[in-house]
Amino acid sequence: MKVKAKFENNKVEVKLLVKHPMDTGLQKDKNNGDIIPAKYIQELTCMHGEKLVFLANFGRAVSKDPYLAFTFSGAKVGDTLSLKWIDNLGEHEETEVVIK
């Protein structure tokens, strides 16, 4: 997961891109023709310390390598944000980013 968190006119702009296939379960594998099982991120959260700053729930229509951008206030340069995502098969990733 790549995250850019930039402090600008008193708010924090967060942009992130998650490396994930986001398989819908409706596509066939090109070489052996059987259906690729569904594997897509269902939830992604961003916390600033204890405070929940953003919560996204995804269905199957979110693009491959999903991109998200949101803005919030109440944090400053140097603070850390912790982001997590989990998909329908239970795979998950946690990462932390420092606001620049």
Binding site: K2, L16, L17, K64, Y67
Partner: protein, 277 residues
Amino acid sequence: MKGRIYLTLAIASCLTVATSTFADPVSDNATIRSYFAEKFPDIALEDLVDGAYALDKDSKEQWLQIEEFPPYEEAIDKGKKLFTTPFANGKDYASCFDNGGIGIKQNFPYFDTDKNQVVTLELAVNDCRVQNGEVPLSYGKGAIAYITSYMASTSRGQPINVTIPNDAAKAAYEDGKQFFYSRRGQLNMACATCHMASAGNRLRADILSPALGQVSHFPAYRFKWEDVGTIQRRYEGCNTQIRAKPFKLQSVEYRNLEYFHTYMSNGLPINGPGTRK
């Protein structure tokens, strides 16, 4: 004395007549620039490096949103890693290129006066590998596209600067030029048919990009490929679409075409790797 002056004047004039009929690359570029300036009067020529996005607000808007976090970033990271990993003999790509390969993409392709052939960046990468005892990479996509994507990213903003050093180079240029303007394939179209005469028109939902500035964003990440690909991979695809049998990647036909096609955009800034349809 006067006789001799008239004599030299006569010779000089028939010399100029001879060269003007055989248009030279410099005047070619001038003609092409005025052609597109007339076709798109309200668009600065430099902006044509954004291709169809310079001509359509809706698709430009989408492109800018995608550029917020572009999909080719991964290719650049992979390319940088490959570029900096030393070969088995300890040397690396940087040793093969001027300035360590950083910020030089705008000078490619160049004409190698010893080997008497056009050398594209991808060919130079493979030559470097072979000189250092490595297996050459396959062309078009994959590792070679990641490496040249990284090298292109270090050249962003540099004006394209392809040179034609001698007559052999000029012949390669003319060969590429003839390819560009020849109608081919079962649909009987030339590159110029779509990218000059019909540049800016729509074919269903696709806008035909102008030839001027068309090379600056390569290697390109195309949504259709879901990965980056070199310009010759695009030549292959385009030829197939007009039902002409494509040439082999890095064949003399495609290298000369790339030579002419890039020379045409001399002076325009490199903005690769870019995202396209």
